[in-house]
């Protein structure tokens, strides 16, 4: 026994060395992982701080109430934020009902056949289409074929199509979380499929759908390329006609066909000018835009977190 001991201790030492080496690698990879994460965090911090330092001095009330101007110190984002708001209204008006209806159809009604398969594959593929291609679609179809022109309506429709897959996927995921017993309960009481859907399925999945809608809208508000492609103007020194009027019929839809600008386009315009003073305006507009998208995405993430914690079927 003792004769065998020395080579065995030799082996033990080698084994220990190997284990130590493997553990070292394990540790090193853990550090590499943290470093990789930190690169993301640092970039974000740099981006945010850089924009805040350049932009915050410009964030005075006039910045929000002035039209763009040739003089950087007088230029503001009035037409841009009004345009963004109106475009978002049109986008939500089309994307939310269409997306929710499509999601409900695919989860609750669709039979397992080739038509359903085609629709599903289509939605997956549309989510991967570059946004500028939607711009080309809108330019060819909405602007020229349908004659909507380079208007708020065209832009809103374009962004609605762009975020449609986001809303559909969110709706489907929210509906999938509802247990089958809820449907069975409704049917047992004699409810029709539509009654079950509108009184149970849609209300119970509303919070999940809302999360998806907010994420989609946050994406739409920052989209630049498709809006440039349909030909939004970068210099707009007037507001579209007011949607609400003092005399009957109180609502006015002229604004739908009005030319417009949006926040990201205003920012793009200022960024691509050579003067540093305009870059400050770009930073200020960008800061407002980042805050808006961060707030919307943050709200969505918080909603989802709340949802996961509270719902116990």
């Amino acid at each position: 026994m003792s004769a065998v001991a020395p080579p065995a201790s030799q082996d033990v030492r080698t084994i220990r060395e190997i284990i130590a080496k493997h553990k070292r690698w394990d540790y090193i990879f853990g550090v590499i992982g943290i470093v990789a994460l930190m690169i993301g965090v640092l970039t974000f911090t740099a981006l945010f701080v850089d924009m805040a330092i350049d932009g915050i001095p410009r964030l005075k009330p006039e910045f929000f109430t002035n039209f763009p101007s040739r003089r950087p110190s007088e230029a503001g984002i009035l037409s841009a934020w009004v345009g963004s708001t109106l475009v978002m209204v049109v986008t939500a008006f089309f994307a939310v009902p269409l997306g929710v209806a499509a999601g409900v159809y695919l989860e609750e009604y669709a039979r397992k056949n080739w038509i359903t398969d085609v629709i599903e594959i289509n939605i997956t593929n549309l989510a991967g289409v570059p946004s500028i291609v939607y711009g080309l679609l809108a330019l060819g179809l909405f602007v020229y074929q349908f004659g909507f022109g380079q208007s708020i309506l065209s832009a809103g429709l374009t962004l609605a199509l762009l975020i449609l897959p986001v809303v559909i996927v969110a709706t489907r995921e929210a509906i999938r979380g509802i247990p089958q017993s809820i449907r069975e309960g409704a049917y047992a009481l004699g409810a029709t499929q539509w009654q079950t859907t509108k009184d149970h399925i849609v209300p119970y999945s509303a919070a999940g759908i809302l999360t998806g809608v907010i994420i989609g809208m946050a994406r739409a508000i920052g989209e630049t390329a498709p809006i440039i492609t349909i030909g939004a103007l970068t210099f707009i020194a007037f507001l579209p006609a007011s949607p609400v009027t003092a005399s009957p019929p109180f609502l006015n839809f002229e604004w739908l066909l009005s030319p417009f600008s949006v926040m990201p386009i205003q920012m793009f315009n200022w960024t691509s000018r050579p003067e540093a003073a305009f870059h400050q305006n770009a930073a200020a507009a960008g800061f407002v835009l980042v805050l808006m998208t961060l707030a919307m995405n943050g709200l969505a993430i918080w909603l989802r977190y709340r949802l996961r914690k509270n719902i116990k079927w």
Binding site: G33, A36, M51, P130, I132, G135, L164, M296, G298, I301
Partner: protein
């Protein structure tokens, strides 16, 4: 409720009129249900019409374009000057910009995204993951025009300090920032794929004395590879279709180069450049952006099909 009530009355008074009234009510109810189903189906098929619309617009305008320019010239010409008197239409020029910028971006996004995914899925404590995942999601939600601003006015001056000859517009800065932008797409899908790998596989590996690193690299990653491959494909599609970062920071001069230190125009940046100008509807310049868009679509389609094939080839079922 009403069904119960009418059921009770019909039991006591089995009148002829009442039954037919109930049948009529039932018929109208079924008709209403059918109408609703059809409406919902119409909403779902909008997505199919969007695809048909995209293909129709791109192909019909491109057909007009290829009446003026031969496909051979389009693919082999080494100049892209569609708006000059001496017009050349060599898509290779724009393609080189797209390929170079995507290569730079993916050289950042794929390694970093994969490492972050492995770290979050296999190494990170619960707390770190709960904070890092929403943070990465926020990073992915920032508008690309913001990244463009950052690339042009922060990263480029920073790089110029290291390499003073770098021009103000260059692919490198745009590509680097684009890579950071794509990290969340790669990491979140890869991580989901890795977390879907059954625990038993990891336990088997640990039982054999493997470390976390060995388990991650030799067991989890191969098992999740089909999901990781789709994350990479999505990253590639994002890089190829990215527009604003390149339009802002890479300059918009067409330049046949694979050198990231030079300025260049990509397919997407060219479309933006033309759209910013004032080209008449139906002119050859107007048609070029649809031909460029069609090239972009075919490129992303190619990667999607490749992704599908990869997923099939590496799918592991447990």
């Amino acid at each position: 409720m009403s069904a119960v009530a009418s059921g009770a009355t019909s039991a006591t008074v089995p009148a002829e009129g009442l039954t037919s009234a109930r049948l009529a009510q039932r018929r109208s109810r079924i008709a209403g249900e059918k109408a609703i189903e059809l409406t919902l189906f119409a909403a779902a098929s909008v997505s199919v019409f969007v695809t048909i619309g995209i293909v129709y617009v791109l192909v019909s305008e491109s057909v007009q374009f290829f009446r003026h320019v031969s496909l051979w010239n389009f693919l082999t010409d080494t100049q892209w000057t569609p708006l000059f008197d001496d017009a050349h239409f060599g898509i290779m020029v724009l393609l080189s910009g797209t390929i170079t910028s995507s290569a730079v971006a993916l050289a950042i996004a794929i390694p970093l995204g994969t490492i972050i995914a492995i770290y979050l899925s296999e190494f990170a404590p619960f707390k770190v993951r709960e904070i890092a995942k929403p943070f990465l999601e926020l990073l992915g939600g920032i508008p690309t025009i913001i990244y463009g601003y950052f690339a042009l006015l922060f990263v480029t001056p920073l790089l110029q300090r290291i390499y003073p000859d770098l021009p103000g517009f260059n692919i490198l800065a745009a590509g680097l920032v684009m890579g950071i932008m794509i990290i969340p797409y790669v990491s979140s899908i890869s991580e989901d794929a890795m977390r879907a790998v059954p625990m038993a596989l990891r336990e088997g590996s640990y039982a054999m004395g493997a470390t976390r690193y060995q388990t991650a690299v030799h067991v989890v990653v191969p098992a999740a590879f089909s999901g990781i491959a789709s994350a990479y494909i999505l990253g590639i599609s994002r890089a190829v279709g990215e527009t604003m970062i390149l339009a802002v920071a890479a300059g918009m001069q067409p330049n046949l180069t694979f050198n990231p230190l030079e300025p260049a125009a990509t397919i997407t940046a060219y479309i933006v450049q033309v759209a910013l100008g004032d080209l008449p509807h139906g002119s050859i310049g107007y048609q070029t952006i649809f031909a460029a868009g069609l090239t972009l679509m075919l490129l992303t389609l190619f990667f999607n099909i490749l992704g599908h094939a990869l997923r099939k080839r590496f799918r592991e079922a447990y």
